[in-house]
Symmetry: C2
Subunit: 282 residues, 2 copies
């Protein structure tokens, strides 16, 4: 398994506070030491740092902890390998270009017997279930929208259909961003919170560090943080319900839906529906 | 204009010596200070560092100078902006996935009135002539080979046809790699050399640094270095002839061709040929 960290903000914000705590889990407060990665959007482009060393030892992670890169959308991942070797090509997040934007994807969980037919438009470079899921997901977006870029709401609606199909193969918690918004989905574990005016102090769980955000923010700032396990001890983290999908823009959730639960409930009421939908899935 | 640096090796090699000299040109020995980038392949995957700060000031460049990342294919670029703003999305090298490999492209030169029809399969994220050329080039590879990965020699033959068409729009010196080989092409300026056994000492031009490669190599090592302007004062750098294309593998040129010159000569002999070929170009 792995751990995820996402950040979506109203104004460009640096993630050093959260990343300091999060990266402790790559060998100190937890054992997610099989590589790490972090992606920072600047508009449609993305700065992506990946390393097959742990986020505790990697000099690249050290740079990220100390060099405040400001961004409105950030996705980070620390890996505990379950499928795929510890190589660079298997390190999350994964990046692909679609509709003239970079797309970034990181996954926590395990997918079994997940071998969808891919069109060839997006081909995994490594051999993880996660990158396969990312390629399938983008393939499905292209199938629905062709080469015309859809709106955030259209993408959300498409992901509501696509994500539960992948989730039938196992645990599927992910963060996905194209620099415009941050899409997130959880079948088992993910938490979120929003920090906004009036800001307060926050204290990390994994490291003895406290920041008083009221001293370093303005009223215009607003930050949503998404993470596998809560990062701070004195803030209220909202757990995702199984099958919950949330898209964040400008530092707050703009659309939420319960996909998998609704779907399983529908299927429980009508087993015939299950057979038809599953057969149709690839 | 910009400057290029490429390295192709028989065994994973670090580029710190060459990059130390090269990055001096981003503000100290020259004025290529509008962003920099460097890509290191590890098999089919790639570690890409880009920054819109200069390679002299960027903390990311500082990391690259001091942290020896070993790779068999490296492409770096320092930018002096001529087209496109100094933003992250306009910083070379550019990266796209094709046939389950990352592809990296960096360009030195200016293209004018270069607005080819693109299929939508690869869309520029920024607004440089260079990224447009990269997307066109990959589009053309997909048009020729579909979703079946061609051999190095097939790619070379395709590039021999595609590159001169783009070069008709201006200066087109580039380095391109998919982690398997490094393809290079020059219409005006590019130099190369091969370092191999018996290795000698080399002294940088831009910095007072000398390395005796015989002390830090084995007989198995072999390194080809490609650069806009020679990096060392005591080695023989081969200039590319106008229109020369060279593909490097395992640290040496494996195929060379003169594309543009041959083409212009053919066209000079038969102006009708020029009209037909140009009309057919997109």
């Amino acid at each position: 398994m792995c751990q995820l960290l996402g950040m979506n903000c109203a104004t460009p914000t640096d993630i050093t506070f959260s990343f300091k705590g999060f990266s402790q889990r790559a060998g100190i407060t937890s054992d997610h030491s099989d590589g790490f990665g972090i992606a920072f959007f600047e508009d449609k482009a993305c700065r992506l740092f990946v390393d097959n060393q742990s986020a505790v030892e990697s000099p690249i992670a050290e740079l990220v902890r100390n060099f405040p890169i400001k961004s409105r959308n950030v996705i980070s991942h620390i890996r505990k390998a379950t499928q795929g070797k510890i190589t660079l090509e298997n390190s999350h997040p994964f990046m692909r270009e679609l509709w003239g934007r970079q797309w970034i994807f990181a996954h926590n969980g395990d997918l079994h017997h997940f071998n969808p037919r891919l069109t060839g438009r997006f081909v995994p470079v490594g051999n993880t279930d996660s990158e396969r899921a990312f390629c399938y997901l983008l393939d499905q977006l292209v199938e629905r929208f062709g080469y015309t870029e859809p709106s955030i709401h259209q993408i959300f609606t498409a992901l509501e259909q696509i994500a539960p199909r992948i989730a039938e193969h196992g645990t599927f918690n992910y963060c996905l961003s194209n620099g415009q918004a941050l899409y997130s989905y959880a079948t088992t574990k993910l938490h979120w919170l929003v920090r906004e005016h009036p800001f307060k102090a926050a204290r990390l769980i994994d490291l003895d560090v406290e920041v008083d955000f009221s001293q370093v923010t303005t009223a215009k700032d607003r930050v949503a943080v998404i993470t596998t396990e809560p990062l701070t001890q004195n803030e209220v983290w909202m757990p995702y319900q199984p099958g919950e999908m949330i898209v964040f823009q400008d530092g707050r959730p703009i659309k939420q839906a319960l996909t998998r639960v609704e779907r399983l409930e529908r299927e429980a009421l009508n087993p015939e529906l299950k057979r038809i939908t599953r057969a149709d899935q690839y």
